[in-house]
Amino acid sequence: MNNQDKPNSRRNFLKNVAIVAGGSIALSSCRSQAMKEFLQKNFRTLTKKEKNEIVKNLELKYSAKYGKEFHVSDETAADGIEFGYALDLSRCIGCRRCVYACVEENNQSRDPQIHWIQVLQMEKDKGIDFAHSDVHYNPELVPEEGHFYLPVQCQQCRNPQCTTVCPVKATWQEPDGIVVVDYNWCIGCRYCMAACPYGARHFNWAEPNVPAEEINPETHYLGNRPRIKGVVEKCTFCIQRVRKGKYPSCVEVCPVGARKFGNLLDPNSEIRYILENKRVLVLKQELNTQPRFYYFFGV
């Protein structure tokens, strides 16, 4: 038996390597855009020029995929702004309008299903008790007797644990307080999900699926642009809206007006009025995450 007939000869191995290398070069040349995206740097290390090019390419890619004009913003945080949120526990009736307004605004995957907002039904005589709360309640009408409702989403902590555990720095806190994810840099290790005490981060276990007729083409790079399989996503206070001065979607849709939003640094904002005049609490205060998401009692 000579060398060439051996099934695992050095020659056969080198032949295979050559085929693989040749194939990969052929692939990368026909899909240079995908290759470029794959090798793209962390968003925070990009220059303005690089960002502009990336954003332009993403707009072309999404427009082709969904058949409508897309805008991908990379608008940065403005000076003198720190976003805060307050939710009136005495008003919320648990109707889940916020959940689906968020899904539509922020292009969350429909199947597999991702919801950035979880509305927890709690028993009045137990108080805020996560162990005995129910997210799957489904009566004919809400609110139900003897219950109250506590919606939970990203608390935009001042001292976020999710960002400190990220091994690749793919998630961070912006100067206006919004905790964001660079979906291109995320490696999908899900450490941040384990670190978040509020269950506010969600993983794309499969390719996210949003029907083209329902996709929202007004997007932000760090927010609601279409995601890919294997990355983590979360509430960004609708970064694509609030950086343009608009209220988050959940605030506007709430039929009982339980959701309030504004600039914590502006003494005349409604959020400051609430902090100064109402009874306010944060979730899991003992963990020292220092949320910018407050719960209050309007009455």
């Binding site: 693989v20 919801h115 809400v142 083209a212 001065g245 506007e252 409604e270």
Partner: protein, 193 residues
């Protein structure tokens, strides 16, 4: 699950790692959809009050009911406190707003039905109905003005549109009506089966 892990392990450590990486890198572009529909946004029509005081949503009149004077101008006002049986009997039937002590003409003006009327006798446009509500519910009016009670749309840092009290509370029966909740999130059983 075990099979999944085994397969993933095999794929990742095969000599074709490079091809796998490129294939994953390239697979972000999915099917091509063609549509031109924009998603529904939550915008409301707003009316700026003449005084420029507070921008509010239009009062939610029933279809064809306003102006009231279309009918009432030809009728002789009857200021006697009573239950209505011929017209507006639906309102009279549902009325549940301190109904022991109040009736229509405590808020509607007896001579000009296109106006509301404060306890002081001052006439009020329907767009300013919040002032009428605030006669009793002063704490709610105060919270509403600063945006803490009720709904607003617009800009968190700029112009806002206020929903009138009566956009959410029927003035004749103001208790907020229960709603049908949207669908609950999928359960583990629904995913695995």
């Amino acid at each position: 699950m075990k099979d999944y892990i085994r397969t993933k392990f095999k794929i990742e450590f095969s000599p074709y790692l490079l091809i796998w990486v490129i294939a994953v890198g390239c697979s972000n572009t999915g099917d091509l959809y063609v549509t031109d529909q924009t998603p529904v946004k939550f915008e409301v029509n707003s009316t700026i009050l003449q005084s420029g005081e507070i921008a509010v949503t239009p009062p939610p009149f029933s279809d064809g009911i306003f102006p009231c004077n279309d009918c009432h101008s030809s009728q002789k006002p009857n200021p006697e406190r009573r239950k209505l049986i011929e017209f507006h009997d639906d309102v009279s039937d549902m009325f549940n707003h301190d109904s022991q002590n109040r009736w229509c003409l405590d808020c509607h003006d007896v001579n000009n039905r296109d106006s509301l009327r404060l306890a002081s006798g001052k006439l009020l446009d329907f767009k300013e109905s919040y002032k009428l509500c605030g006669q009793c519910h002063g704490d709610k009016l105060r919270d509403w003005k600063v945006g803490v009670h009720g709904r607003r749309t617009g800009e968190w840092n700029g112009i806002k549109q206020y929903y009138l009290c009566v956009s959410c509370h029927n003035p004749h029966s103001p208790k907020f009506q229960p709603l049908k909740p949207e669908a609950p999130p999928v359960t583990l059983d629904e995913i695995t089966n």
